[in-house]
C-alpha cells in the first residue's frame, strides 16, 4: 500500500471510512500463534467474544478457525477456552515451529 505524504492526510487524521481497520493487517505482530483443536471444541463462542481483533472466524454458529492476517497472538482465546473434559480446544504455539 502506498503511504500518504503529509499533504494527502485527511483533515485532523479523521478516519472517514467506517470499518477500514480490516485493511490494516496486524498478523505480523505475532510471536505466538493460536492452534485450533477441532475435536475439543464445544463451539461455546467464548473465543469469538473475547478476541480483541475479531480474528476468530465463525460460520453457521460454529467456530471454523482463525484469521491470521489480523490475529496478534495475544492468547486471550486460549486462556478463556473451556475445552472438553479438561482438554483445551485452543493452544498457543511459538511462531515458526
Amino acid at each position: 500500500m502506498k503511504q500518504m505524504n503529509w499533504k494527502e492526510l485527511p483533515h485532523a487524521g479523521t478516519i472517514l471510512k467506517a470499518g477500514n481497520t480490516s485493511e490494516y493487517k496486524t498478523g505480523s505482530w505475532r510471536t505466538y500463534k493460536p492452534r485450533w483443536i477441532e475435536e475439543n471444541c464445544i463451539h461455546c463462542m467464548f473465543c469469538w467474544i473475547y478476541c480483541p481483533d475479531t480474528a476468530v472466524t465463525v460460520k453457521d454458529e460454529k467456530m471454523t478457525g482463525f484469521n491470521y492476517d489480523h490475529c496478534k497472538g495475544c492468547g486471550v482465546c486460549a486462556m478463556e477456552c473451556p475445552g472438553k473434559k479438561g482438554n483445551k480446544a485452543i493452544v498457543m504455539e511459538e511462531e515458526g515451529k
Partner: protein
Amino acid sequence: MGITSTKTVAVTGNQAVAEALRQLNPDVMPAYPITPSTGIMESFTTFVSNGKVDTEVILVESEHSAMSACIGASAAGGRVATATSAQGLALMWEMLHIASGYRLPILMALVNRALSAPLNIHGDNSDGMGMRDCGWIQLFSENAQEAYDNTIMAYRIAEHKDVRLPIAVNMDGFIISHSIESMQFIPDAEVKKFLGEYIAIDPLLDIDNPKSIGALVLPDYYMEHKRAQHQAMLNTTKVIKDVSEEFAKLFGRKYNLFETYRLEDAEVVIVALNSAAGTIKDEVDRYREKGVKAGLLKPRVFRPFPYAEVGAALKNAKAVCVMDRADSYGGFGPMFMEIASALFPHRGPVLFNKIYGLGGRDLMPLDVDQVIEETAEVAKTGKVKMMKDYMTLRS
C-alpha cells in the same frame, strides 16, 4: 460601508470578554471557574440564566474535564468556548494538545496568572507561555478593548478552513481582568454578521457518515500529522492579517501581528506584551521629548510567531531590551528566545533580557525609565552588563 456606531462603556476586562462571548453565542461552554478568570463565567452564566444566549454551560469537576468536554462538544460539531487561568490551564495541559491535534477551533479566554508554587493568584504570563508548544493560536491583549476585539475575531481566525486550530485570547489577570476602563462594544447584529455561520468539518453528530477520531498513529505516520499541524499554524498568520483588516474596515480599530509604537526610527527599543505596553508607551513619549530615540514593539500574536516580520521591524535598532513577565529557570525569558530567533538572520541590534512583574508585581513608570536608560547606554556602548536580569528585585 462606514464605521459602525459603537457605545462607550466602563467595564472590567472580564466583563468585556464575557460580553464578547455573549455576542458570539457559543453552542457549548464547559468551565471550572478559577481566579482571576472567574468573572467571565460569573457574567456569562448570568446571560444563560436570563436567556440572553443559547449556550449550554457545562459545570465540570476540574479543568481537565472542562477541556475534555470542550473537545467532545467541538468534535460533535459545536462552537465551543471556555475560560481559565494558571493552575486551571496547567491541569488542562494534556487535553490542550488533543484539542489542537484534532484541529478543533475551540476558543479559550485565558486570564494570565502566575503559576504555583509559591501559590500566587496575581497576574503574570507564566501560564500562557507554558502553553507555547500545545498547538494553540495565542493572541495577547493590552487592555479590555483589545481583549474584547481579539475575542470577537477569535472564531473567524480559528474556524478558517486553512486553520482549524484552537485559539487562546490572553489578558493580564487583575491588572486588566478586574480593572474598570472605558471601551467600546460593537452592536450585537454587527458581531453576528461579522462572525458568520460555523460549518464543522467531519462532525461526529453527522450520524449518517460514521467516522473515528483519535485513532492510534504509529511512527510511520506520526510525523506527517505533526507537519500538517505546523502548516495549519503557518497558514494562520495570513488569516489573522485578513480578519484584522476586515475588522478594521468595519469597526475602525486596527490590529496587526504586533503593534509598533514610535518604532520607525527607534534606536532604543523595548519589547513587551500585554498591559505593560501601556506604561511603556508613556515613558517612550517622555524619552522622545528628551531626544532619546525610544520605541516599543508589542507582540499580539505569540503563536504562530511572526519571525520574519518582527525581525524586519527590529533589525535597524541599536539595542533591544526584551521584557518578559514569565521566566524559564536556567534559560532566558520565553519572549527573549523568540526575539533572538527573529533577529538571528540579521546583523541586528544588541539584545538583552529583563524579567519583570512576576506574581503580579507592579511595573511602575520609574522602572520602565531605568530600562530605557540602560538600553540607551547599551545602544551607545554596545556592551551588555547582564544578559538576563530581574527588575525591581531586592538584592
